[in-house]
Amino acid sequence: MDAILFLLFAAIAVICAVNLVLQTHPISSALSLVGVMGALALLYLQLGGEFIAAAQLIVYAGAIMVLFIFVIMLLNAGKERKLPRKLWVTFAGVPLLAGFIAIAAFVIHRMLPVTEGVKFGSMTHGSPQEIGRSLFQTYLLPFEVTSVLILIAILGAVVLASKEIE
């Protein structure tokens, strides 16, 4: 059951990711990215990260990507111009990518035992309570720092966006 679910969501994620890369129109890429995120959220749930799954939905899919789509609409970005793509890119890039993935998979298999597996519900540490506790006790300082970071980001965004270019 777990395996089926995993394969399902993984397939969705990969297909969406490939689509992201292949689509020439930003909106399509954005939506496929949303797809990836949704699939990942479900995988997080499977890994017992309830809070992270929810955060993934709310923050990533709900806020960040909406922002992207917003900008795309605002700029009314069209398709990419078709350029005569250099041949070596396609002929070297794709095998390179495949090789990269293969090696990565190899390394990971070396690193991790195949025996231990993920069973849904066997991880109980991802509950919001746990996250909150460790967020406000162990990682309090980083948390506060991130708040400052966010503040800075907001200011920067406002300044950048509100600047009038003549």
Binding site: L20, V21, S29, Y60, E116, M123, I150, L160
Partner: protein, 108 residues
């Protein structure tokens, strides 16, 4: 239907491999796409891939830290998106283009 031999429980390695795949796809997007926004989204994809491995390891070690880290990654990504998109807007205002290769005045 033919019986596919599926493990009772999903090996952790699968998750990591998935994350590796997603990451390298993000890299590919970063390299192949020329639209700034798409490039940006490829970065987000990479971040997501990393998050996945974070959560996976946090499952392996039965600790919450991985979740915390991916949470921080999300926060940073949010900040990054805000600023980055603002920058993109400015670039567009300045040059009326989203072609990343036309934003190459840094050279030489």
């Amino acid at each position: 239907m033919p019986e596919i031999p599926l493990p009772q429980s999903v090996p952790l390695a699968w998750y990591l491999i998935l994350s590796a795949i997603l990451f390298s796809l993000g890299v590919a997007g970063f390299l192949f796409r020329r639209n700034v926004i798409t490039v940006f989204m490829s970065i987000e994809l990479m971040l997501n891939a990393v998050n996945l491995s974070f959560v996976t390891f946090s499952y392996k070690f039965k600790q919450v830290d991985g979740h915390i880290f991916s949470f921080f990654v999300m926060v940073v990504a949010a900040a990054e998106a805000a600023v980055g998109l603002a920058i993109i807007l400015t670039i567009f205002k300045n040059r009326q283009t989203l072609e990343i290769d036309e934003v190459s005045s840094l050279k030489n």
